[in-house]
């Protein structure tokens, strides 16, 4: 008959007269014990081996037990110190004896609790006496420790210690008992017969090799079987960051809706971030602590002079026949100050002004998904830097209905239906709306963006003569809504957890 090589080796190592343990078979065949165990079971199935099992009980000293082998049992050390101090004659103060014994910490309690029990003496009102007749050399536990000192997982019946002492050592945590299953195999009669007839090694193949394929040998071999159900080792291939995936998704949607992408500086002059947006220079948001002003460098070199003039005029006098400006001062130096942009509307003002890619003729659609910076409190839903989705549409005569239609279309792509528009105030848009949507899983009404039609006081200085509607929202907000993340800091930033990123479901 033919058998795989490991099984042949096991059959040859076993005998019919005597049961051989798996460990012994492993030693004889030089195969790993788990391979031998596997082979033994397969041979039992073939009817070539009879397998018996028994449970062996073994004992070994614990770490504490081994310590006492070297240092002596605490109660014995206490007794010896007590004798030294003369406690066999008169009671001695306990502190003195303990000090002399060198016992420390938990060992003191152990010594005290066993001292009297084992008849070494008595402890009363802080004093200790020693029984002169006690004999540490006759201490059964001490003797047993000696006997077990060199033994490691020895079968319990092979050690020279009575079972009572073993139990007391185990109670004291000085001894471990372990149970292990020993499998032993004996050749069956059928195996003996087969062996006499001759058992050959079957050609089983683990790996398909080039030689196997080119020689044509593959036609004659048997492939060894795998456990195809077992889990393989975890493999962590690369993956695009979940927030990047979401941002790509948003970009895809917007490009599909006819939007062109913008980009521009993260460090920018307040002029582009705020003044061009008709934000008064004394607006709380501009002096507010949530802005990240730069310490170095401090000011932009150049601003387009004619634009600066037009923006200043709009702030002071307003635009149009009936317009009026803000009743607050305007200072160019203040406008030149550099900060990390608090919104990507700074890109919109740069593009709308014609400074970025030349003058734009309607119709146009533009977007960006870029980082903005706010000096807000860092918590599970707020980061100091996050991605803002910014979009605007430029055309003649845009209405509030166009704005609503555009945003409904956009949010519907992310499963957010039933948008509600809450009339709102922004310094640079009128009318303005906060957008609310229903959370797809919780059903809660959540704010999902801010929108409006840019004011004429903003557009006219920029040289735009038609309507522009715009909106913005935080990408992280969309992500948290879509995937239910609870702490954005696990995802974004250097505190991120690799395991979470590895396990996060991909989006499409």
């Amino acid at each position: 008959m033919q058998l795989p090589a490991q099984q042949v080796a096991v059959v040859e190592a076993a005998t019919a007269d005597e049961a051989t343990s798996v460990d012994a078979l492993a030693a004889a065949t030089e195969l790993p014990p788990e391979t031998v165990t596997g082979a033994v079971f397969e041979l039992e199935d073939e009817g070539l081996l009879a397998v018996s099992e028994r449970v062996d009980e073994t004992v070994a000293l614990t770490e504490e037990g081994r310590e006492y082998v070297t240092d002596g049992l605490p109660e014995v050390r206490l007794y010896e110190a007590a004798l030294e101090a003369g406690a066999d004659a008169d009671p001695v103060s306990m502190g003195q004896v303990i000090g002399a014994s060198g016992l420390e910490g938990g060992a003191v309690d152990i010594a005290l609790s066993n001292y009297a029990r084992k008849g070494y003496g008595a402890i009363d009102s802080g004093e200790i006496t020693a029984d002169p007749d006690a004999d540490p050399d006759a201490d059964a536990e001490a003797t047993a420790l000696e006997a077990l000192a060199d033994v490691d997982d020895a079968p319990v019946d092979s050690v020279d210690v009575d079972s009572e002492t073993l139990e007391s050592l185990e109670r004291r945590g000085l001894l471990d008992r372990r149970e292990s299953t020993v499998r032993e195999a004996t050749l069956t009669e059928r195996a003996v017969t087969e062996l006499m007839a001759g058992i050959e090694t079957a050609e089983t193949v683990g790996q398909v090799t080039p030689e196997l394929l080119t020689s044509g040998e593959w036609e004659d071999v048997e492939f060894s079987e795998y456990n195809v159900e077992a889990d393989a080792e975890q493999f962590d291939g690369g993956k695009v960051h979940i927030l990047r995936q979401t941002s790509e998704r948003v970009k895809d949607v917007l490009v599909g809706m006819g939007f062109q992408e913008m980009e521009g500086p993260h460090v920018d002059a307040d002029f582009w971030i705020n003044d061009c947006l008709f934000m008064p220079q004394d607006h709380p948001a501009r002096t507010h602590w949530d802005r990240f002003a730069l310490e170095q460098p401090t000011h932009i070199d150049e601003l387009p002079a004619d634009l600066v003039e037009r923006v200043e005029r709009a702030h002071k006098e307003g635009v149009g026949d009936d317009g009026e400006g803000y009743h607050s001062p305007w200072d160019e130096d203040f406008a030149r100050a550099l900060a990390l942009r608090g919104h990507t509307t700074s890109l919109s003002t740069r593009y709308l002004s014609g400074e970025e890619i030349g003058d734009l003729e309607p119709p146009q659609r533009y977007f960006s998904v870029e980082k903005v910076y706010r000096n807000d409190t860092l918590d599970p839903t707020h980061l100091l830097e996050f991605f803002q989705i910014e979009g605007w549409v430029m055309a003649e005569d845009l209405s509030v209905r166009d704005l609503m239609g555009t945003f409904e279309e956009f949010y519907a792509q992310f499963g957010i239906e039933d948008i509600r528009f809450k009339p709102h105030y922004n310094p640079y848009t009128e009318p303005s709306f906060e957008l609310f949507g229903t959370h797809p899983t919780t059903g809660e009404l959540v704010e999902i963006g801010n929108s409006g039609i840019f004011r004429e006081e903003m557009l006219e200085p920029l040289g735009v003569e038609c309507d522009v509607m715009a909106w913005g929202l935080a990408l992280e907000r969309l992500l948290m809504l879509m995937y239910g993340f609870e702490d954005i800091r696990d995802i974004h930033g250097t505190l991120c957890d690799l395991e979470l990123l590895r396990e996060t479901e991909v989006t499409y």
Partner: protein, 587 residues
């Protein structure tokens, strides 16, 4: 967003709608853009308000808006004030920094605990918003009976707005029993300490006197003598500031609120001296308000001309002129139909004096839209054809990211803000070094914390931080980031050179230079650029195992095995090889 506390019972009282439940009120308030945030301990509504409608900072103003919403009120309403008896005389000595004053007398107020509290809240909210924390405008409200005007001219009572030496006269400020000079107040009084910065640089401090002496130290604190209580029947309201328009508008809002409680408004004459300071309006506009003599409050109406066509294009619907006029009246405005010079239909819209937010005809259209109900408008997708597309840099970034992921890297997304310690020290480099990544930092003036003091100059430090925080996770940890980095560069208009970097680290037990180089080569091949790696020295990496990344003949980055001292600094127990270079190089 700011909030205002409104007692629902008072709201029912002032609107005359006793039948409204709290929930109905909350719904109606949402319609006005006042969002219910919760309740105070006393059970009042905490409402978040949009900072344009400052006339709704008190229960009286909110009630007025609701009456328009309910249709109980229409058009504009202006209280008719009595002629002035009192005069505020502005002295030459008034500080140049705070030259403007305005005021009004309020007669026959009937203050109970609630209405007094509401008045105090209105004052505080106006300070916080329009008053820019009292810098631009500050309000003082006094019990008129405690004032004794000096009969300067024709027997009319007069008070003086003057500038005083910081330690000249003494008065007893509110919440104190001690007589103090203005300078003492700034030093010792709690409110004085809070607002000291507003005036401490002034040569002379602003002060208001009657014939008995100093009774108000604007914008800091009033004197105790004229403190308003529920027993007060007549009030004197004064406001000082850096701009006449602002304080006049704040005064109008206060007058309207008190008038809604049944009080009578009485005008006050403001006499400016014949000097330059009063005429030099800090805005450079509206010099007429800095004239010799003003009568306040100025409850005159403003008008805006609004084109019918513009209303229709903004709202996206066709409207009948009568409908427009009706919407205006329901918004507390009044509109009359006219024809402009071009023959187009326009409306002359009258705006009441408590409105501070109407800067442009568009603001009127917004009011009309709200009255119509924006949520009743049918959304439509605009019929505009445009071609969409990605920015070239963004397309490049995506392609490189795809290649990195294909090479087995986990894509990272780290913060752009970092600390000097993380960016330089822990990588053993010094700002201004010749080494890649050692550019001068763009630093933040008031950072959130010491962990975020600058923009990172390269991405490798962030990647090492991620490795440091994930030593309990399984290896290999091959991480890559295409990320923003910036450094000071005087050649740039903003003074900062910004760019994207391609950074990668390989961390596992056998990570070495060759692993990193193999992947870098793969990238170079995919983007068809010429890659060379001549040996170089960089303190972050092991000498002899470090090279410059030279792409198409230009040095754009660094590659090497991270130096053990940097690894140990980051508590890493595996070797790490890394490369970083400018994304632009693959373009």
């Amino acid at each position: 967003m700011p909030t205002v506390d409104i007692d629902p019972d008072e709201l029912r009282d002032l609107t005359g709608h006793d039948e409204k439940s709290d929930d109905e009120l909350i719904d109606d308030l949402f319609g006005l853009g006042l969002e219910f945030e919760g309740r105070t301990e006393e059970g009042a509504f905490e409402l978040e308000f949009a900072p344009d409608r400052l006339d709704r900072l008190s229960v009286e103003g909110v009630a007025r808006s609701m009456r328009y919403q309910y249709g109980d009120a229409r058009g504009t309403h202006v209280p008719s004030p009595n002629s002035p008896e009192w005069t505020i005389e502005v002295d030459d000595s008034v500080p140049d920094e705070r030259p403007y004053v305005t005021g009004a007398v309020i007669r026959d107020v009937d203050l109970d605990e609630e209405s007094l509290e509401s008045l105090i809240q209105l004052q505080e909210k106006l300070h916080a918003t329009m008053g820019r924390k009292r810098a631009k405008g500050a309000i003082g409200i006094h019990d008129l009976t405690m004032l004794k005007g000096t009969a300067a001219t024709e027997g009319n009572p007069t008070i003086q707005y003057v500038g005083v030496e910081p330690d000249a006269d003494r008065f007893v400020p509110l919440d104190s029993d001690a007589e103090m000079t203005p300078a003492d107040v700034l030093e010792e009084h709690q409110t004085g300490q809070t607002y000291a910065d507003l005036v401490s640089e002034y040569e002379r401090y602003p002060a208001i006197y009657d014939s008995l002496g100093l009774f108000s130290f604007p914008p800091v604190i009033n004197g105790r003598r004229t403190e308003v209580s529920t027993d007060s029947r007549d009030l004197f309201v004064e406001m000082t500031g850096t701009d006449q328009w602002t304080i006049d508008k704040m005064l109008n809002i206060v007058c309207y609120a008190l008038s809604a409680r049944g009080a009578t408004i009485e005008e006050v004459t403001v006499e400016y001296p014949d000097s330059e300071s009063a005429n030099a309006d800090s805005n450079g506009s509206r010099t007429q308000s800095g004239g010799r003599e003003l009568v306040r409050p100025d409850l005159s109406m403003k008008t805006k001309t609004v084109a019918h066509g513009r209303i229709e294009t903004i709202l996206g619907i066709g409207l009948d002129p009568d409908e427009v006029i009706d919407l205006a009246e329901r918004s507390g405005l009044e509109a009359t139909k006219e024809e402009n010079d071009d023959g187009d239909l326009v409306y002359e819209v009258t705006i009441p004096p408590y409105r501070v937010d109407v800067l442009h005809p568009l603001d009127v259209i917004d009011d009309l839209g709200r009255a119509y109900g924006f949520n009743d408008l049918e959304p439509r997708y605009p019929d505009i054809g445009t071609v969409g597309g990605r920015h070239e840099r963004s397309r490049l970034e995506r392609s490189v990211r795809e290649q990195l992921v294909g090479l087995g890297f986990e894509d990272m997304l780290n913060f752009h803000m970092i600390s000097e310690g993380e960016n330089y020290d822990r990588l053993d480099i010094t700002p201004g070094d010749d080494a890649y990544g050692a550019g001068e930092p763009a630093t933040i003036k008031e950072p959130y914390s010491e962990d975020f003091t600058m923009l990172r100059t390269w991405v490798t430090p962030s990647l090492l931080m991620v490795l440091e925080r994930n030593t309990h996770r399984s290896y290999p940890q091959n991480l890559a980031e295409i990320g923003f980095a910036a450094e000071v560069d005087e050649r740039e208009n903003t003074g900062v050179a910004e760019g994207r970097r391609v950074g990668a680290v390989l961390a596992h037990h056998e990570a070495g230079y060759e692993d990193a180089k193999a992947r870098l080569q793969a990238l170079a091949r995919n983007f068809d650029v010429d890659l060379e790696t001549p040996p170089t020295d960089h303190p972050t990496f092991i000498s002899g195992r470090t090279a410059a990344v030279v792409i198409d003949g230009e040095e754009v980055g660094v590659i090497g095995e991270v130096h053990p001292k940097v690894l140990v600094e980051h508590d890493l127990e595996v070797p790490v090889s890394a490369f970083e270079f400018d994304l632009e190089a693959l373009r």
